[in-house]
């Protein structure tokens, strides 16, 4: 049986998702690590996609081709390459809009990464719409990117930060959430999926309850947008954020979706070229949204790369990716159950393929170092979610996160490596 056939058998013969073919799109996945003179290394088992995903050849080549054939600065040029460049870059705004089912490109702001998108909303929307005594409601499972910008704003203008608690299984406490929607709360800013627990939060319900009380709603889609289809209109988001490098695209670009009426009323964020309509030393007139929020030369190459990434996942199908990853998740959860002393944080019914765990008596950092020697790349630490670590009484965890290219064979390697780690320290 070829390995190809083995995997098709493993994932079910009628599965339309051909992971072995998919893997061939990712050059890095065929490498080994920790090679030494005279000794072959271990095949890379990349289980760190929640930190950042690997890039398919389609993305790498799109950027390369762009730089070899069509590159120039955008927006203000009449020359041939500048037009090409502008067309390609702006086409990604359409693709991002379609990817999120946003009404049009005018709803899409490009940022440096997801983190900058939160800072943009905090500093632009926040300063214009919040005042001392108002509150922003986040949750106990937020990434620092959705905590610290609000703390900075709190220190600047005196808003309060309120926190929806997390239940023991890693679900959001929806009863507490409903109670926390008090009058002072003006913005609900909650993650669509947790980068530690994997929990997928009920976005539609969160937005419905918040909107019923007249609040604005922001979702952190950095993880959710990667693991399955997102429809900002169906969930009725006012803001939705994701980041290019986790969606199999380049670093240096993030996406902020905003309702057009809201974006149009937001003051500018950073000043510079491209975001202004006219400048004198006395007065400056800003451009319309989304361009008002994009100061200076934008991430042009990154835009082209992100466009190729969106094309790539769209061609595979976000539904198919989701189904594949859910099979992997189920298998991994099942297999890890057998490991004595292993505790999984986050067992909510709706869960993305992200597994944080601890092993009794072994520090996650040591787990990480040993798994790495076995070729298995996992992330260890606090995952930029320190308050969540405190909630679960752990200093850190090891986290295996799965992407569209992972296989059940890789789950086996993970499980074996964890077991070997246990005997090493045993």
């Amino acid at each position: 049986m070829s390995s190809h056939a083995a995997v098709r058998a493993a994932i079910g013969d009628n599965a339309p998702y051909d992971v072995m073919r998919v893997r061939q799109d990712f050059p890095i996945l065929s490498r080994t690590v920790h090679d030494k003179p005279g000794r072959a290394g271990k095949p890379l088992v990349y289980l760190d996609s929640a930190a950042s995903a690997q890039k398919p050849r389609q993305v790498i080549d799109a950027m390369k081709r762009f730089l070899e054939e069509d590159y120039a600065n955008v927006h203000r040029g009449v020359h041939f390459l500048s037009q090409r460049s502008t067309d390609l870059y702006e086409a990604t705004r359409d693709k991002a809009a379609a990817f999120l089912n946003a009404p049009s490109r005018e709803h899409i702001v490009f940022t440096r990464n997801a983190t900058e998108a939160f800072n943009l909303v905090a500093q632009s929307w926040g300063r214009a719409n919040l005042k001392a005594g108002d509150a922003v409601l986040i949750s106990g499972m937020e990434h620092h990117a959705n905590i610290v910008p609000w703390q900075l704003l709190r220190d600047q203008i005196g808003i309060a930060l309120k926190v929806v608690p997390v239940l023991d299984d890693g679900s959001l406490d929806m009863d507490a959430y409903a109670d926390l929607l008090t009058d002072d709360v003006k913005l609900v800013a909650i993650t669509h999926a947790s980068n530690v627990l994997g929990t997928i939060n009920p976005a539609k319900e969160i937005a419905r309850l918040a909107h019923a009380r007249g609040k604005t709603v922001l979702f952190d889609g950095s993880q959710a947008a990667v693991h399955g289809p997102v429809d900002v209109r169906a969930i009725d988001a006012d803001f939705y954020i994701f980041t290019g490098h986790k969606l199999y695209g380049p670093t240096g670009i993030g996406v902020l979706y905003g309702r057009k009426e809201i974006l149009d009323r937001m003051p500018p964020y950073q000043g510079g070229g491209d975001m202004i309509s006219s400048v004198s030393f006395e007065e400056t007139v800003y451009r319309e949204a989304p361009y008002r929020f994009e100061a200076g030369t934008p991430p042009i190459i990154e835009g082209v790369g992100l466009g190729a990434a969106i094309d790539y996942v769209t061609a595979l199908g976000m539904d198919a990716i989701h189904a594949h990853e859910q099979r992997l998740l189920a298998h991994a959860m099942d297999r890890l159950k057998d490991v004595d002393g292993l505790r999984v944080l986050g067992t909510a019914p709706a869960k993305a393929a992200i597994i944080s765990f601890t092993v009794e008596g072994i520090h996650p950092h040591d787990i990480g170092t040993l798994l790495d020697r076995a070729g298995v790349a996992v992330r260890v630490g606090r995952h930029c979610a320190e308050p969540l670590m405190d909630r679960f009484g752990v200093g850190a965890t090891a986290r295996a996160s799965f992407g569209l290219y992972n296989t059940e064979a890789e789950v086996e390697t993970l499980v074996e490596a964890v077991k070997a780690t246990k005997s090493f320290f045993g």
Partner: protein
Amino acid sequence: MFDDLRDLYQEVILDHGRNPRNFGRPDSFNRTAKGDNPMCGDKIAVYLTLAPDGSIQDAHFDGRGCAISQASASLMTEILKGKSQAEAEALFGHFHDMCTKDDHEHTDHGPVDEEAFEKLQVLSGVREFPMRVKCATLAWHAMNAALHGEEKTSTE
């Protein structure tokens, strides 16, 4: 599978990691400092009792950490007892060089207790693991901060 990790995790380290010496906050001490490794979330505290002449009468630590940082802290508290401040600092300097630099790059940190330094050699394996250096030096940074009367330190 993990053969070449035996350099990093020597038996002494696994032993100190499992059974750290001088662990726990002592009833009395006169200097203390915390160390925080933001990368892995480790936090430890070092408690020193300095004699009137400034030498280190006693040393303890508590807090959580990986095998490397626990073993390093445990070894450190054993070694420091009875050392003068200058000796402790020299040991830290040598130890830090050992963890981060090739032999020829080591700088002069003053005379060092060779026997004590010998014991620290079990940690020299971290030099091949740049991401683990902070684990090994965390307790030492905290000790150094405590010596200089600072209240809190971070290894970064």
